[in-house]
Symmetry: C2
Subunit: 430 residues, 2 copies
């Protein structure tokens, strides 16, 4: 029996909203938002959408009107009472009241600022300019909306059973990954796949499948809404935008050289335990660690997000040893380009030498490769990054020059200041 | 939003019934039932469940109490007004009022007779004794119930997502079959999978998937309830029970030799066009055709249900040619042990030589091979057959001696009367 009121209510939606909640975002965005809200409340930042996969012509695939409707819908959202209660009352990484009252009061009444959208060369130029702690909240919904609208465009003409079998195939693939991982001893793995997910419902399914299939080896999800709805841990620490903006604000080379450590000093003051995770690759891991102050070696672990992951983890282990730390008590979080084979390989390579954890993203929540003609649902490399702060361009070097961004002359300056030499180029799939 | 009344109503079911309608059965059972109701209303017949796959110990797998509940539920069913309207008002094979008023009046008020159930050597002995046109209606529900209870037993301890992935894999397999068949020119294929289906909902899904995927090449389903609900053609003609019971009733060898033709004479009188399909293999195809009266060669086609199908169809083509008929205007229906490869092979072998149609059964509605540990969901060979009529045992020789049944001395007598020599043994999977 169909509930008639539900059916009538569903007919009243003008659109099928992709993002329906301000906490349908990565946990670390909220952590960083709070930190920025306290430490850099007056900084003006520009975030910009960047499609690294030029062959996917988003503006040809996705209708501009639909995109605007989805973005406008996100602007109409505000934090619900239940969401606020969850953020205020929950335990994150063993700590209660992770979110301070002044931050929550602001968050409860904010809505996302305006966006600027135009088409150019088959791509969308989508930018957000305003106070850092406001525009930074656009990153995840903007990416999730574009990923899902692209999927909807591809699926538009498929039949009902054809669609069901498409999802059956994708489910089977996720489950085969579960089966390939469930026997790995000491596996600790979380979902980091919000930004490039196929869709919200699909991410929700993947998270639940991993929870059932991997049991305690599945440690949680970066998505706050799914963590709340499914009674899971919300997972995450910090991202490149912090050192990138801090660095862009530096007034000279000396301040620039200090900026990546200043930002972690602010973080150190606010967070403890598992939230003290170093993300070292923004301006090259080797130099970052070599020049790091000793208190940073006391942090819980490190996140390897670019470059060759084995090399990155070996560098971290040597660094801890040099600083008199015991690597077996340290945590290495791998979060770049993961899939089953790499997870197994990394897990086996570092077992017993360091604690290992995985933040599994795109190949968990968007592996539809080969499932439709022309591979039109294959994941692609879409990012949304801080490109300027108070009028100065940001720069990222990364451990993989293909992930570098910023004006050429600024990249050269950063390389000089941070002492970065030759880097190995690695293919960027997602 | 959940409809509260629905939720409360669902809690009131004492069991989850497997067969919920008297027309959740094969169309040809109703056709034969009407014919028997007219021609042999006083014959007493015993139907008996026979599990040819002894390794599947049904009585160990399936709880006797649950089995009795399901069988008792079927006994509580009577024809609904809508079902009666559909049988009375529908067009079957282009003919209105296929079911006569006297038959419909009886069918509207009947319920299934009692059953006899006991356990022996890990198997269920399940028999139905009574008037032929009543007990014969037990065949399909009894098989469907045992198949589905066995499936439920195997699935009992699986997790929610594990189950979803199991069905995802099975759906993918069915769809791969659709994809392998959809380019076959002139394909005509119907679902004959009711009796050995994995479950009702699964058969319903398979039928709809074939309808979407094969479009006009999918000609309908033998299941009346699904045909009614999904607005499809109900498909079917006649089965071995007719010649088997007519033969068991023969008082001497001369009557026995005539019996398989007598039954078709009765059928000839009642049916025309596509319902005039010969099922020649009950006592050996070669001799049956050689001794057949000329009017039988005028029938529309032949159904090949045992033995080597290519050989069977070649025999039929030669027979039509010998009797001055044009084989290209005749129909051959293949219905034994079909799967994609065999359908493709038979389709290609006989294209242009004879009209070909497929009645696809177990490997359509119950192909869960290899999907659970120990292959515990693999289909197996369960049948429910007329074993006696008015106290005389029935006999089937078939074109495959492994499908033969009856007391040894009676088999010898039938072989002599029908002139059946050496036969080739073929494996019986389902």
């Amino acid at each position: 029996m169909v509930d008639i009121a539900t059916r009538v209510w569903n007919h009243k939606w003008k659109i099928d909203p992709i993002v329906r909640s301000l906490i349908d975002t990565d946990f670390y965005k909220l952590l960083m938002c709070q930190s920025i809200f306290r430490n850099k409340p007056d900084t003006t930042v520009t975030f910009s959408l960047i499609n690294r996969t030029k062959s996917v012509r988003l503006a040809d695939l996705v209708d501009e009107g639909e995109l605007r409707e989805q973005l406008d819908h996100v602007r109409s959202l505000s934090l619900s009472r239940g969401e606020s209660t969850w953020l205020r009352g929950n335990t994150f990484y063993g700590k209660r009241q992770m979110f301070r009252s002044d931050f929550m009061e602001w968050f409860e009444t904010m809505s996302l600022p305006d966006y600027h959208l135009e088409k150019r060369d088959g791509q969308y130029e989508l930018t957000f300019e305003g106070r850092w702690h406001e525009v930074m909240l656009w990153e995840i919904p903007a990416l999730a909306i574009l990923m899902e609208l692209r999927g909807r465009a591809v699926l538009r003409d498929m039949g009902r059973f054809e669609l069901q079998v498409l999802y059956a195939r994708a489910m089977t693939r996720v489950w085969e990954k579960v089966e390939a991982l469930r026997d790995l001893p000491d596996l600790r793995l979380a979902d980091f796949g919000t930004r490039r997910r196929h869709s919200f419902l699909w991410q929700d399914w993947c998270v639940q499948a991993l929870h059932e299939g991997l049991e305690d080896s599945f440690t949680g999800t970066s998505n706050c809404l799914i963590a709340k709805n499914r009674d899971l841990e919300a997972i995450g620490t910090n991202a490149h935008e912090l050192p990138m903006v801090y660095s862009a604000l530096a007034r000279d080379d000396a301040e620039l050289a200090r900026a990546p450590y200043d930002v972690l000093a602010d973080w150190h003051e606010e967070h403890e335990g598992n939230l003290r995770i170093i993300l070292p690759d923004t301006y090259g891991t080797d130099q970052f660690l070599a020049n790091a102050p000793d208190w940073l070696a006391g942090w819980t672990g490190i996140r390897i997000d670019s470059g060759d992951p084995v090399q990155g983890a070996e560098t971290a282990i040597r660094w801890w040893q040099d600083r008199g730390e015991d690597p077996t008590e340290k945590l290495v979080i791998f979060s770049d380009g993961l899939d089953v084979d790499k997870i197994r390989e990394l897990s086996e390579t570092f077992r017993g030498r360091v604690r290992v954890s995985f933040g599994w993203g795109t190949m968990l929540t968007n592996d539809f490769r080969g499932l439709v003609p022309g591979d039109a649902l294959a994941p692609f490399s879409l990012v949304c990054k801080a490109v300027a702060a108070n009028g100065h361009p940001t720069v990222k070097l990364s451990d993989n020059p293909r992930k570098a961004m910023g004006p050429a002359e600024e990249i050269e300056r950063y390389k000089r200041v941070f002492g970065v030499g030759r880097q190995e180029e690695l293919e960027v799939v997602v």
